[in-house]
Symmetry: C2
Subunit: 466 residues, 2 copies
């Protein structure tokens, strides 16, 4: 994790480089930018400094590794250090922490975390791609060895080891990670309780939609869900292991394992200390070229702000897809190109067991918060011809702006195919399509894939009656 | 099948009706229109005349019924006659052939095909939804009892019965039906040869894309495919059953069963005889309100022309999804509303075994024919994170107009998820999105559903380099 430190020790000059891109952080945005920058500029010197042991891994794949769907943690490594160094000529410095950016001298101060050596390195451009870190709530014994956040490869390996010896677990928080971990732990025969402080699970969804997910988990998957309550104490045994979770309302759960999944915060101490302006939710403020407030310093990925096309305002929605796109745009601009990242809709998808959850754009909750007048419909359909043996149910909630009738958001859940449908709606929102224009889309139909009139066409049509 | 007859016999007057909608044809467009018209107008008298035995069936589901995926032919019946009559108050007259539309007297002449009784019935509006019929090529013994077209429920039942006693089959033609029947027959352990007159299978695809489908069928599914050749003789045994297919180039195939799948033609004799103007490929000429050239007469479904949004010209692409939409638009306008059907992109999807084939908009072939200057890219990707155990390959070919850089078409094939991707591109084409605008779409990502940057974003991005 990136921390704020103030003391600078002796430095070891890297020598003046005319063109040296230093990338701070080596997961999605950082490695994507390195690869893209190399393709854009064959002669640019590129260095990635990361305080982690691994680079270029898929954090999103961790729940599937824990579940043994992905057999080896190596599979989560998208591109090897060797490949970066030998093929792309990118210097990779793992377990190296950038302690400060000296924007006047155009140097970074770096600490080798294994030797404690401190040195400096000159840059012409910097990409800050320091990511985000899980929030660790202030609960007694939260740092016990069997309490885990789910963020990096080491977390994944440690959870998998602990899970092998566990029979009962608590998951604190019910966002993407919390929901996905229900499946992971259940598949390892670990009885799991989900504890959520809000009055609904999966707070990105509207309450009515979240209730359907909750019903599925409780009724079909026998998952214990505790709402409106939060963990206030982790009781440990004499070996320092958490054995019991106590909640505010006095509930007690015996556990062998605790997963913390209460959200993430952007890693922006280094940026802040270096005088880079922060924006929405303390993420690094960037423009559409991924430029920060300081010259020659760019930011991308989970540490950076984004623009929400649906709400037309700055936002911070840390997701792997966005990190990759922002890294790409930053690299092009760093190399002298001119590319814009126009923003996100907060489109996201996940699954828990055989139940899919997808959303894009503005929920009813957000529309109310922003004072947007909207119309909404909720329709239940089959995802394909009902006579097909694998036809499954989906629920589609869609919103349009009341005055313009432009589609502004959707939530689609169920056992059927939601991925294609959320992506069609994301495309329509991006294009500014109205209810009427949407009705004209010629979507694909064959019995194994859809109904003759696709459920999303029916859902949007239903807005006319709302 | 609807035929052209000239002789009108005695008629039995139905009495003057102020508002009586007569729908001729009872499959997709006809029954959709009936149901919609009833919702729009509670007091309208509605009658469906169909020369078939069944109404409201899914013709698209027939291959899956033959394959035993859909267990009963009843499952293909979407809405029963009883439900139409008792709940929707729609009169259903099966095995009734409308012989003539008398537009001056505003009457139809109808023949009861079981009793041969001929009567007339007055209308205020007519919807012609007479569908399309399979082309039956002029080959000796083409009407033998073991030679089948694949169009209606009776075809389905007869093919299934014959298939149970068959070991070898020939499929003539490799469009949707031909391709789907390979799977159906193979699943019943019938060794099948596919005979296609053109130099590629699945002529809606570009040759390079079709070649990938062909390779899959030949290599992985051991399907015998004969190109550039056609059946010229069906040899029969002494019971009149076809036992051998002979081709133009002198090939011979022993068969127990022959499937004719060389395309369909619109059923427009009745319309033509009644003075209704025909258009593209002899389909009934309609405007966007589904009005024909004659007052109070509408047409919808496989018998009607459509407008191709991608080529910006009239077209005829008979598909179930379009039939449903046209039926709906016709019904709204018949009931005094004002709805338009703005056209199609020819979006279509099918599968053969575990290989999916989808297309939308303009192929390279069509672009060349129409003289459209285009750029194109073909990319191969995984459909989801490569470390997921069910990650599969897809091939994406996409086209954009050279000058405007607007996306105009795509073909996506492979074992992975192509449905969501073709629908996103269809949406983008409908919205008139350019390559740049497409790159901004925030598509959903999670390892079980996609790659961090969706393959279609990569495919469209690749157009920039082409």
């Amino acid at each position: 994790m990136y921390c704020c430190i103030k003391t600078i020790l002796t430095i070891n000059s890297g020598g003046l480089m005319n063109r040296h891109l230093i990338i701070i952080g080596g997961v999605a945005a950082g490695t994507k930018a390195a690869a893209k920058a190399r393709r854009e500029d064959k002669n640019l010197k590129i260095t990635i400094y990361t305080n982690e042991e691994y680079i270029s891994y898929s954090a999103c794949g961790i729940p599937y590794y824990i579940e043994n769907l992905v057999v080896s943690s190596d599979s989560l490594l998208i591109k090897s250090i060797k490949s970066f160094e030998e093929i792309d000529d990118v210097r990779i410095k793992t377990l190296h922490s950038v302690e400060k950016i000296d924007t006047e001298a155009k140097k970074v101060i770096v600490k080798n975390m294994q030797t404690n050596e401190i040195f400096e390195d000159e840059y012409s451009k910097i990409l800050v791609a320091t990511g985000a870190s899980p929030i660790v709530p202030n609960i007694p014994n939260v740092h016990a060895e069997n309490v885990f956040t789910v963020r990096n490869i080491n977390d994944a390996i440690k959870i998998k080891q602990a899970a092998a010896k566990s029979k009962r677990a608590a998951i604190i928080g019910s966002g993407y990670i919390g929901i996905e971990m229900i499946e992971s732990l259940n598949s390892l025969n670990i009885k799991t309780v989900l504890i959520e402080a809000q009055h609904q699970i999966f707070p990105m969804l509207d309450e009515d939609v979240a209730l359907e997910v909750q019903k599925y988990l409780e009724v079909e998957k026998n998952t214990e869900i505790v709402l409106n309550d939060s963990a206030v104490d982790f009781e440990v045994n004499n070996k320092g292991k958490v054995v019991r979770v106590l909640t505010k309302k006095g509930k007690t759960f015996e556990v062998d394992l605790v997963i913390l999944a209460v959200g993430v915060v952007p890693n922006t101490c280094l940026a802040k200390d270096s005088g880079i302006e922060l924006g929405f939710k303390n993420a690094i403020k960037v423009n559409s070229r991924m430029e920060t407030s300081l010259k020659d310093i760019y930011a991308a990925g989970d540490c950076a702000e984004t623009y929400n096309i649906a709400t037309k305002s700055p936002d911070w929605i840390p997701l792997g897809s966005t990190a990759n796109k922002q890294g790409r745009v930053a690299a092009i601009n760093i190399c002298g190109g001119n590319e814009e990242f126009r923003g996100v809709l907060g489109t996201a998808i996940t699954k828990v067991f055989d139940f899919n959850i997808a959303l894009t754009g503005i929920s009813e909750k957000v529309a109310n918060k922003l004072g947007i007048a909207y119309i909404t419909s909720t329709t239940k359909s089959r995802d394909k011809a009902s006579y097909m043996p694998d036809s499954k149910r989906i629920i589609i909630k869609v919103l349009a702006e009341k005055n313009t009738e432009k589609i502004i958001g959707a939530q689609i859940i169920g056992k059927g195919d939601v991925a294609k449908r959320i992506d069609v709606i994301a495309t329509a929102i991006t294009a500014g399509m109205t209810i009427d224009e949407f009705g004209d889309i010629d979507l694909s139909y064959a019995p194994p894939f859809s109904m003759a009139i696709d459920p999303i066409l029916i859902a949007v049509e239903a807005l006319k009656k709302s």
